[in-house]
């Protein structure tokens, strides 16, 4: 009998094209997703006189450079206009499925892939974007690659890889009300650090993970890269299968049965060994908020801004000082109550229907005290939200209801904060300058972002919603 294998190991082995004696593997890529930043890679492919090897395995949508106040490609910046036009031209020329601006299916690639049923269990999936780890929520091995590797995949449908190590994060126990995938992943990163999973593929397991919806799992896997992980994944189960059933690119009829038979073999086998194991107690996770300039700088909303004097070494102390200076925060200040200037609800981390519902539940019947944006992750999410009346709730509460795209997560389309602004953001990176030069980003869940919007400061959403704090 062979030793029990992890899900990652099984997917990896299934996709080996060539194993070189020097430890390098030529890995087959089942799915390749592209966005409006992929055109330099395509240009290099054409410069070699080549075409996409498997246009049928690729799909694309513009997200980074699209405006969120209108749907035209006629944006003022000539570089951005070129990128938005290139994606259409390239996809048409190459025969790649495109969800273009104006198509209700357009959105952030990591929202669109799962939503269209392109991301499936047991597949290898890549995209020239680090948050490709998102798609691991469906039990795929999904990871971000650089632009040269994108060209390589276009040309060969393969990638040279050294096999990463494996790591299991087990979160057992019951989550308190209003604790989301976002709080779980921030708690994990706070525990293991921004480099905690470098070189590893992370599998999230345990009863708290099993209990998460697909949206929650997508949020969780999305930020694997923020822990340094090569990929993040959750074993496919009934939640996964129900989610995929009926999605446009999911298998149908007899193929569905065949796929199901395979999907059920994907999860990690009992007794399989991981290179590293980490455990968290779900009951200990509170609504999280970041205080610094790395996603590892996260703590509970009931916590206080940490003191650099408490840092374990001089290097860390210096980093903390720098972070606090940039964030304009004083050690010891309670997080609950820190004034916020602006709110962003969106990004590939938190722009799915469940995220918008959670934010709307807080916004309902209240008024935003500061500018607050809601940017749905795709046209379909936006449509669904409007069908449920969420847009009305947001508008009545004074929130701005915008068109789908990456928007203020990265700000390359012009959606940025201004120097010195403090933003409560549902995105994934609180890096220096990420949302604009000198802008201070705090990462939170959608409910916590909405709570900041209606109070004008960070506030424990559980207090607002009158829930028992358990």
């Amino acid at each position: 009998m062979t030793a029990p294998r992890t899900m990652f190991e099984k997917i990896w082995q299934r996709h080996v094209v060539v194993d070189r004696p020097d430890g390098y593997t030529l890995l087959y890529i089942d799915r390749h997703l592209m966005h409006d930043g992929s055109s330099p890679a395509y240009a290099r492919l054409k410069a070699r006189g080549m075409n996409l090897r498997r246009a049928d395995r690729a799909a694309a949508t513009p997200d980074h450079y699209v405006k969120t106040d209108h749907r035209s490609k006629d944006v003022p910046d000539p570089d951005h206009r070129r990128l938005l036009n290139d994606i259409t031209k390239n996809c048409n020329e190459a025969g790649v499925t495109l969800f273009d601006l104006g198509d209700v299916r357009q959105g952030i690639i990591h929202v669109v892939g799962p939503e269209q049923g392109l991301s499936q269990p047991g597949l290898t999936l890549v995209c020239g974007d680090s948050h490709t780890s998102t798609h691991g929520a469906l039990g795929a091995l999904a990871f971000g690659i650089g632009s040269s590797e994108v060209t390589h995949v276009m040309a060969t449908q393969c990638l040279w890889q050294r096999k990463p190590k494996s790591m299991r994060i087990t979160v057992d126990g019951a989550l308190h009300p209003h604790i989301t995938g976002k709080d779980i992943i921030l708690a994990i990163i706070a525990k293991i650090g921004a480099a905690g999973a470098v070189g590893h593929v992370m599998e999230y397991a345990g009863s708290a993970i099993r209990g998460l919806s697909m949206e929650g799992r997508l949020t969780l896997c999305n930020m694997s890269i923020e822990a340094g992980g090569r990929a993040g994944m959750v074993a496919p189960d009934d939640t996964t299968f129900q989610y995929l059933d009926g999605k446009p690119f999911a298998p149908k009829g007899a193929n569905w049965d065949k796929a199901m038979a395979f999907w059920k073999t994907v999860p990690t086998e009992d007794g399989a060994a991981f290179d590293r194991e980490v455990t968290l107690n779900a009951a200990e996770i509170a609504p999280m908020v970041t205080w610094g300039t790395s996603p590892e700088d996260a703590l509970s909303i009931s916590g206080r801004v940490p003191d650099p004097a408490s840092a374990p070494d001089a290097g860390k102390q210096e980093n903390m000082k720098r972070a606090l200076e940039y964030m304009d925060l004083k050690p010891g200040t309670p997080m609950d109550g820190i004034a916020v200037d602006r709110v962003f609800i969106g990004s590939c981390t938190n722009s799915r229907i469940e995220d918008l519902r959670a934010a709307a539940a807080v916004a309902k019947g209240r008024k935003a005290k500061i500018p607050a944006w809601v940017v749905a992750g795709s046209g379909l999410v936006k449509q669904q939200a409007e069908a449920e009346g969420l847009d009305r709730i947001f508008r009545e509460a004074g929130f701005d209801w915008r068109e789908p795209g990456c928007s203020m997560c990265i700000g390359v389309n012009g959606d940025t904060g201004v120097l010195g602004q403090r933003i409560a953001s549902t995105s994934n990176r609180n890096f220096i300058g990420r949302q604009g030069v000198g802008v201070r980003t705090h990462l939170v869940s959608p409910a916590m972002a909405a709570a900041a919007a209606v109070t004008g400061h960070f506030t424990d959403v559980r207090k607002l919603l009158g829930q028992d704090r358990g």
Binding site: D22, D79, S130, A195, N319
Partner: protein
């Protein structure tokens, strides 16, 4: 791709841990053509919001002019997959990076651009950074074939590099061309997958 064999050059230290690729090149420079991304290089770290050089920033110290090696800290170049982080380094003269650990994607992207990322023990890297601060303009010598780094103190360390990546760098090889040499294996895989996973 340019080959990488040996390199003896000025090295510049970057002390912070978790330097992300958004610092190396802020996102607003990404949409530009490569020739206009050059100035994005550590832009907001080097310059204040008014475009004036910030004081006390190592990268602004003329003593490090002509540096081709950067010595970083833990989790160097983590975050976004933007390959522009490597290309803007290359376009600003850099060819090798030494750190205790790297963001995985940046690490891979280096090899695609003729650059050598080197992992050395954290203590040694910290020591090298201290020396580079004390002796601005000091040089480091790297020999890829021998897999050695000689610090400004004359001490030589050996480093690990994947044999596949080493060979590619030494030859300046074209990865796509190498892969195309495996066409029959790829074809065989695709035929088998067509049988096994007809829904794809």
């Amino acid at each position: 791709m340019d080959a990488f064999t040996t390199l003896k050059a000025v090295a510049v230290p970057i002390d912070q841990a978790n330097v992300d690729t958004d610092q190396i090149i802020p996102a607003r420079f990404l949409g530009r053509t490569r020739d206009r991304q050059v100035e994005g290089f550590f832009h907001d770290l080097r310059l204040d919001p008014n475009g004036r050089p910030r004081e006390g920033v190592t990268l602004n110290n003329p003593a490090y002019k002509g540096a081709k090696i950067m010595v970083g800290n833990t989790n160097f170049a983590c975050g976004s997959s933007r390959e522009n982080a490597v290309t803007t380094m290359v376009d600003n003269g850099f060819r090798s990076f030494i750190a205790p650990s790297f963001g995985d994607i940046f690490f891979n992207n280096c090899f695609q651009n003729g650059c050598l990322p080197i992992r050395l023990p954290a203590e040694r890297v910290a020591r090298i950074r201290v020396i580079l601060h004390e002796l601005p303009g000091a040089e480091i010598a790297i020999d890829l074939a021998k897999q050695t780094v000689t610090g400004p103190d004359g001490k030589t360390d050996s480093f690990e590099v994947d044999p596949f990546r080493k060979e590619m760098l030494l030859k300046g090889a074209d990865e796509v061309k190498i892969t195309l040499g495996y066409e029959s294996d790829i074809k065989r895989f695709e035929d088998k997958q067509k049988q096994e996973m007809p829904w794809l």
